[in-house]
Symmetry: C2
Subunit: 228 residues, 2 copies
């Protein structure tokens, strides 16, 4: 919404402000296509600027990623909000998942941020905390409605995103994910009588971070697992 000068930061010279924006746009594109592993050099060149400039605006890559990521979350949240308003909870749930997965499918950077491929796992907690309150009631309603099998939990959703993202990541096929999301959704529907319950669900917190419980994961990096 706010397309004006950002708050807080002291005003920049006009060219600086412009370049900052160029960098953000370039970063968005580069991260989308090549993932967070892209170099700041890459981003800068894509923006038609020098690396030095990039480093004056953002202390390091993390900072740039954060800046870019801010915007992306808004999109995710928007579709979740839309879904939450759906009178048919099953439809809303399915729609919500489909939208997130669609965003992910187009955006490798987003996948990596959401799934924690890159570091900084606490970003997920952020997402989770904004999305959870929107989706939770949807789940409850869908169970009442009898469409969603009762042993599905809130924490299953990020896992489903994860799985779907893996499909896109591996195959590079831009639409194949739809097939497997459907498979999962069909599995999430209330099953015929006599179907055994789902095996144990996700623990409250997990290494990756996406499914935000209350506590923060102290996860810093990868599991060290020393060799010896």
């Amino acid at each position: 919404m706010a397309e004006l000068a950002e708050p807080g930061r002291p005003p920049l010279r006009r060219d600086a402000e412009l370049n900052r924006r160029r960098l953000m746009v370039a970063a968005r594109e580069v991260f989308r296509d090549r993932g967070l592993a892209a170099t700041l050099d890459d981003v800068a060149r894509h923006a038609g600027l020098g690396v030095g400039t990039a480093y004056r605006h953002f202390a390091n890559k993390e900072e740039l990623v954060d800046a870019v990521f801010e915007d992306m979350i808004d999109q995710v949240e928007a579709s979740a909000r839309e879904a939450a308003a759906d009178p048919d909870p099953w439809h809303g749930l399915a729609y919500s998942l489909e939208k997130v997965c669609e965003l992910q499918a187009h955006d490798r950077g987003l996948r990596e941020v959401m799934l924690g491929t890159g570091k900084a796992a606490q970003r997920h907690a952020l997402v989770a905390r904004r999305i959870k309150p929107l989706v939770d009631p949807l789940i409850a309603r869908a169970k009442e409605q009898g469409s969603l099998r009762p042993d599905v939990e809130q924490l299953d959703l990020p896992m489903i995103q994860l799985m779907v993202a893996a499909v896109t990541d591996q195959t590079g096929e831009p639409d194949l994910w739809r097939r497997y999301l459907r498979l999962l959704l069909d599995g999430m529907r209330t099953q015929p009588d006599g179907a055994p319950p789902l095996p144990a669900g996700p623990a409250l917190r997990w290494r990756g971070g996406l499914g935000g419980g209350p506590g923060e994961n102290p996860v810093g990096e990868e599991p060290p697992r020393s060799s010896r």
Copy 2:
């Protein structure tokens, strides 16, 4: 099965032969726990040997991975063979998937080899070609039986493995995958009337390699993904 001296290779001095074996064992363990990214130095140290020794036995890491991987495939094939003999095709199919996923869950290296996280995508084709003939009839039988939804295809199976592996990879939870495999299996069952068909399936060949069509993927290296 063959636990005797390998064929072909000229006989090694006893200590050399022993060390070669030690290296393989160590590699198996290290790759299992830390994935293919592990260093040859790591493997050598784990085997209680020097790097130099490792490099005398294996020209490079790839070669070692191949040697180790050979064995792993046998296990995969064994369970597929067992499943193929199951009189109940649905049960066999489910069992087959469960077994592969279980192996993967315990073995990060195996996940990476099967999913092509590491390079050398043609290894998958190898797996696929050994597994496919076992599983194909199972699928056909399960469809006849009416338990498997008719729009599931052979190429869906590796994708399911992929998704399940992603769960383990991301969460580190050793058993969580069971839940999502179940979800997928339930989605693969014949659906109630009126359910829409699955969206488009996997193309004949895909970047990752696992689902072996006839042609080899000309993929040489990994896509511009570098990380870590």
